[in-house]
Subunit: 278 residues, 2 copies
């Protein structure tokens, strides 16, 4: 038997999340159906992270076992992608298999993981864009990134993140988790989404902009995460960035462990599972 690890990218906007459900299009179900068709029998895969509806991935991982013989491991991505792209826009599916690798016996995509990096993408611009809504959290007032970095520094390390968890996830025995790092970077180039061709060259009506559009990426690495933890961290950091709360207020939330002391849950469409560490 082979133990195979798939690395998977997806645009989450067309899926009801990762986890297989009856009567809903899910990422796991879509990949399992393609794999079952490829192998010729019912297949199930174990994913690393049960991403919510609307959440994206650049490096989701999933493992499964397969007998020797049959399709070579290296040919699985192209074969699956052909099935996943069938009938999809321009022959590109909204889920793509990036790689397939053979792992040691006993390897499991979730249990063998040492941690994960999520990236949360904000489009920080005075103008909201119809083209950004599926892939970014659009924040219309200028964010103070230095204040956000000060608050983020207080969250790094091992803490009880009970205040940064939504109800509705798997019940947790402990809400202590370790965050390895939080990096906040801006990228003005990335903000250049579809805009009028001559914008900037000719006068346009909408040039009452109070600050330059940019994208802000918040990369959070940690050993494990509670339900909605990254989105609540980001919602809290955004409130800090907008001056609605002090950076130090996150320490209060860590010590009280009360959900009400943390910020809002940032929307799913800005969240990307970026990489899983093994």
């Amino acid at each position: 038997m082979r133990t195979i690890l798939l690395k998977i990218a997806y645009d989450g906007s067309g899926f009801s999340g990762w986890q297989r459900q009856p009567n809903a299009r899910t990422v796991c179900g879509t990949v399992e159906d393609a794999l079952s068709e490829l192998i010729g029998r019912e297949m199930r895969i174990d994913g690393t992270s049960r991403t919510d509806a609307g959440v994206h991935a650049l490096g989701q991982c999933a493992s499964f076992r397969l007998e020797d013989g049959g399709i070579p491991t290296g040919r699985i991505p192209a074969a699956l992608n052909a099935l996943l792209a069938r009938d999809r826009l321009e022959g590109i599916g909204d889920v793509r298999i990036l790689s397939a690798d053979e792992m040691p016996e006993g390897f499991h995509a979730r249990y063998s993981s040492r941690g994960k990096r999520y990236v949360y993408r904000i489009f920080n611009s005075p103008d909201k864009s119809v083209f950004r809504r599926r892939l970014f959290y659009q924040v219309g007032e200028e964010l103070d990134l230095e204040a956000m970095r000060s608050a983020a520094a207080l969250l790094v390390g091992e803490h009880d993140f009970g205040a940064f968890m939504s109800s509705g996830g798997t019940p947790q025995e402990s809400t202590v988790r370790e965050i390895y790092s939080i990096r906040i970077e801006e990228d003005r180039a990335f903000a250049e989404a579809p805009a009028p061709f001559d914008a900037g060259r000719t006068a346009h009506g909408e040039e009452t902009e109070s600050f330059a559009p940019r994208s802000v990426a918040i990369a959070v690495e940690g050993g494990g995460f509670l339900y909605n933890m990254v989105r609540i961290i980001v919602g809290t950091l955004v409130e800090v960035g907008l001056g609605k709360r002090d950076p130090e207020s996150v320490s209060l939330a860590l010590s009280s462990r009360l959900r009400k002391d943390a910020g809002h849950t940032a929307p799913p469409q800005g969240l990307y599972l970026d990489e899983v560490f093994y």
Copy 2:
């Protein structure tokens, strides 16, 4: 009575095109329904361009007449956008009213137009992206932009574009049209769509790239366009850029007026109605 001109942006990926149809979500129908709700009676608008399913707009225009009194013209965009965003992702609709202006009596969004600019966006990268599929035509081999510019130059001016028209549009008395200009520009910054956070810093498995990803924008300005004319021009230019046909071959298509002598019809999701000229 006021004659009002709306400027409209939309992400076409969730619409069955501009033109109102029963039992389909269309841009025109969506805007008309919101306007009817705002004004309190059935409203109809005249759009400049009947964009196809999947085609986007940064500057679609539409006009309608409205009695004096009632909502001031300047407040129409915000009022319509609130209705258009209701129940949509993060309170941002996939269609947005950018401006509303009062025009002289007798003005009509389509008949008063002096011309239009369409922009066609290509994601030219060895790797296809799940995040680019709704907004770009993804071409996986490197395009020769100089060859494309040579071919494009032959199309500028007044010509019979009979070879660059799909059947299925409104029957045309004449297939002579004038193209004012075709500009082809690349933008490497714009190609930086969601990618792994540390890509370029750490070694990744997918770094067998044969050329640097970029976006290519083809801006076509003209007095009027036949059905699918811009998409067939782009399909032809892409074939030139891939070395599948000579730049000079477009002259043959212009003189033969036969559809088979032009290239393929580029897919709708790369096309943007950029600006209407009055």
